[in-house]
């Protein structure tokens, strides 16, 4: 009967739940226990010496999170970094996808070449970047210097260091956006495009009124994936500038790393980490709502 109606019976549901319970229990153990531990840690001073010890400190860590000027500054830098990387990746990735999609021959080779950066580990990208931008032997530093575009120390100057780490991230992850958008472009209705062409529509008009609206859902998915990734961005900055110079690239994950694993102020680190988690959830929720609204209007 349950098969006929498509709804599982209560008995069957109980059986399924029982079958899944070991996995659910394990999942809870490795996710919920650490999660609640971190929440508890954020209300304590945590000491490592002589065994892990908690000393209840009330809202002290939370008060610090909201009054610490260094944390505020790191959030601001993170925001700039977040908007710049995600914005550039979406823009360039979409343009790249449109160009590749318009190719009639050799698109497979082009796609393969374009995807190479995203298969490189971020740590290696950081090391490559540091090497290429080194003022004594870096190729990019030399080109910029010879062409008169920039004669300073790229990773050692405020401003240029931020631009450099943003461009490294853009170089690595734009291909991912292009790949996602490219997949979305295959769903653009060919007959509508042909009809528009017969009506004399120009490329810009087709792009604005047919192509982009058709792939808006996939663009949101790409945006969501990259946004989630950008919030926890760490490796490239850690390798290239370590947050400097003058804290100009000290985004919140780098600050969190210092607090947790260099200063071992684990209670405070837990509070900072939870604020990052809340921010991630807010961004993800906003994008998901947008996605649902988009689906309803289509």
């Amino acid at each position: 009967m349950a098969l006929l109606t498509g709804k599982p019976s209560a008995q069957r549901q109980g059986f399924e739940l029982a079958m899944m319970s070991p996995a659910l229990f394990l999942l809870a153990l490795i996710t919920l226990v650490p999660f609640f531990s971190i929440i508890w840690m954020s209300f304590n001073d945590v000491s490592l010496m002589g065994g892990l010890a908690f000393e209840f400190s009330g809202l002290d860590n939370w008060q610090r999170v909201f009054t610490d000027p260094d944390i505020r500054s790191s959030w601001l830098i993170s925001l700039v970094y977040f908007l710049a990387t995600v914005g550039l990746e979406m823009l360039i990735g979409t343009v790249m996808a449109l160009l590749v999609y318009s190719l009639t021959r050799g698109s497979n080779i082009i796609i393969s070449l374009l995807l190479i950066p995203m298969f490189i580990a971020p740590v290696i990208v950081g090391l490559l970047g540091r090497f290429m931008l080194d003022p004594s032997h870096g190729l990019y530093a030399w080109i910029l210097n010879e062409t008169g575009l920039f004669d300073g120390n790229i990773l050692g100057s405020v401003g240029s260091a931020m631009v450099a780490v943003i461009l490294m991230d853009v170089w690595e992850w734009t291909p991912l956006v292009a790949l996602i958008v490219l997949a979305g472009l295959t769903s653009v209705p060919e007959d509508v495009l042909e009809a528009a062409e017969m009506d004399g529509a120009k490329y810009a008009q087709k792009l604005l009124y047919i192509i982009l609206p058709s792939i808006s859902n996939i663009l949101l998915v790409a945006l969501l994936i990259r946004a989630m990734d950008a919030i926890r961005f760490f490796a490239i900055i850690f390798i290239t500038t370590n947050g400097g110079p003058a804290d100009s690239t000290k985004i919140i994950p780098i600050r969190l790393y210092d607090i947790a694993f260099r200063f071992f102020d684990l209670g405070y680190a837990a509070a900072v980490g939870i604020t990052m988690l809340v921010f991630s959830i807010m961004v993800a929720t906003a994008f998901t709502k947008l996605l649902k609204r988009q689906e309803k209007t289509q």
Partner: protein
């Protein structure tokens, strides 16, 4: 249980001391033969211990020669090497868990010893135990300033680590260029530019400026620095700070040697500290512009590439520089002096024993400590083809073959710095950062504020004021 008489053990160690005069070819065999007769070395046979170390040249050399230790003691040593930051995390978490995943610990004085000395065994327990092998030539053979800085905390009795490596910042320069342009420089600058005990930081600045003005075609700039926003920037600045008579805390040299839990108020706003900050800012303005993105490795690479004529750098880079195209063209000297003195920042480390380890493993760990820091092993490290640091014992520097190696050509390139180092480690030359539990946080404040100063965001006065406020808050002053 076998009982050992102290006399027997001392007899064995006498043989060990005699071995110090032997050549390298027979060293490994001789070490094993000379000590294997002593049952004390076999008391933990069959034990396996874990040694966690920073990936440094001495550990690389020891890892390559562990067979001789196993032959001598029957103990298996597994070595885990990693970067210092990762090591500190692992050790801290090990202590936090109350476990002993690592029995022998590379105990950085500032990041491990100061905050976690209670997790390390007081080595006096073994030194006073007549059943244990004594330290060859006694602990008095270790360079005194290094023994205190690497091994002690707060008092002169407890000993938590034995000095294991000893990188120290010195003045590394292009001797070929200093010789080639000597007369011209002397005429232009009005003083003898050859690095010496009497050279001042102000003269260092003038020499750097002379090179930066294009007087020597071989290099673009006079000086390069490890001024990235990182620990290296604090190291580079500290040489100038101490030379000018400034310090991080009152009685800084004592806090550097023994350490403390309550260093008191930060002294970075003293007149001497401010003068040092002003000079450092001035110096970095004429330094190679790449300086603000280089750590110690970056600045050494740039020096090797012929970008500039001189730099303050860790002396252990001599090994790699002397195997580069610059071989034979490099000179070494203690860092210039300021109004107060010449200060050469020491960055050495000791090795200690995890107090959470079982008694059996602690015994095995002690045997390893004695062996790893013995004159013979340090000599072996010097000659190692795969690594090797510089000795932490006076007796090694007194060995004829080591003395002979201090002039080129040599198969122990690090020994080219020996004469300089023995001066740099003297009490009035060594530079010691504060050995306090909160050092990592204080260090971060120092290099972050200095980085802001070098970026032109803050004046030297604002920098020192801001650093003092933050440091006082961290140490609770």
């Amino acid at each position: 249980m076998t009982q050992f008489k102290r006399r027997d053990i001392l007899k064995g160690m006498g043989g060990l001391a005699g071995l110090s005069l032997m050549g390298a070819g027979s060293l490994r065999t001789a070490l094993a033969q000379g000590m294997a007769s002593d049952e004390a070395w076999k008391q933990a046979s069959g034990t396996t211990i874990q040694f966690i170390s920073e990936n440094t040249p001495p550990t690389t050399a020891i890892a390559a020669n562990l067979a001789s230790f196993k032959e001598l003691t029957g103990i298996t040593v597994n070595i885990t090497e990693m970067q210092l930051g990762a090591l500190v995390q692992k050790v801290a978490l090990d202590f936090g868990a109350g476990r002993s995943s690592f029995d022998v610990i590379y105990a950085d004085p500032y990041q491990v010893l100061a905050p976690y000395h209670r997790g390390l065994v007081d080595l006096n327990t073994f030194i006073k135990d007549e059943q244990q092998p004594v330290i060859p030539k006694g602990i008095e053979d270790f360079i005194p300033s290094q023994l205190a800085a690497a091994g002690r905390f707060e008092d002169e009795e407890s000993l938590y680590a034995l000095p294991y490596d000893c990188p120290t910042m010195i003045w590394i320069y292009r001797r070929d260029l200093f010789e080639k342009y000597h007369d011209q420089m002397q005429q232009d600058l009005g003083f003898d530019p050859t690095p010496s005990d009497s050279t001042t930081w102000e003269q260092y600045y003038q020499i750097a400026d002379w090179f930066s003005k294009g007087n020597a075609s071989e290099v673009k700039y006079g000086t390069g620095h490890q001024a990235q926003q990182y620990d290296s920037l604090m190291c580079d600045f500290s040489n100038v700070l101490f030379a000018y008579g400034g310090d991080y805390f009152t009685n800084g040299q004592q806090i550097g040697l023994l350490g403390t839990d309550s260093p008191g108020a930060c002294q970075l706003t003293s007149d001497a500290s401010l003068e040092a900050a002003r000079f450092y800012q001035k110096l970095l303005k004429i330094a190679h512009p790449g300086s603000t993105s280089w750590d110690w490795t970056g600045v050494a690479n740039a020096f090797q590439n012929g970008e500039f004529a001189m730099m303050p750098e860790w002396h252990e880079f001599a090994g790699s520089l002397e195997s580069s195209p610059l071989q034979g063209k490099i000179g070494y000297a203690p860092l210039p002096k300021g109004p107060a003195r010449s200060a050469n920042l020491w960055g050495g480390t000791g090795i200690g024993i995890n107090a959470n380890a079982s008694p059996e493993k602690q015994k095995a760990a002690w045997l390893f400590l004695v062996w790893a820091t013995s004159p013979q092993t340090q000599l072996m490290g010097l000659k190692s083809k795969v690594g090797g640091g510089t000795p932490t014992r006076q007796s090694v520097y007194d060995m004829p073959e080591v003395k002979a190696a201090s002039t080129p050509p040599t198969d122990m390139p690090n020994m080219l710095t020996a004469d300089t180092m023995l001066v740099a480690w003297q009490d009035d030359h060594i530079g010691l950062r504060p050995k306090i539990a909160q050092w990592n946080e204080v260090d971060t404040v120092i290099f972050t504020e200095l980085s802001k100063m070098l970026a032109g965001q803050m004046s030297p006065e604002e920098t020192m004021q801001s650093a003092k406020q933050r440091i006082d808050r961290i140490v609770g002053a």
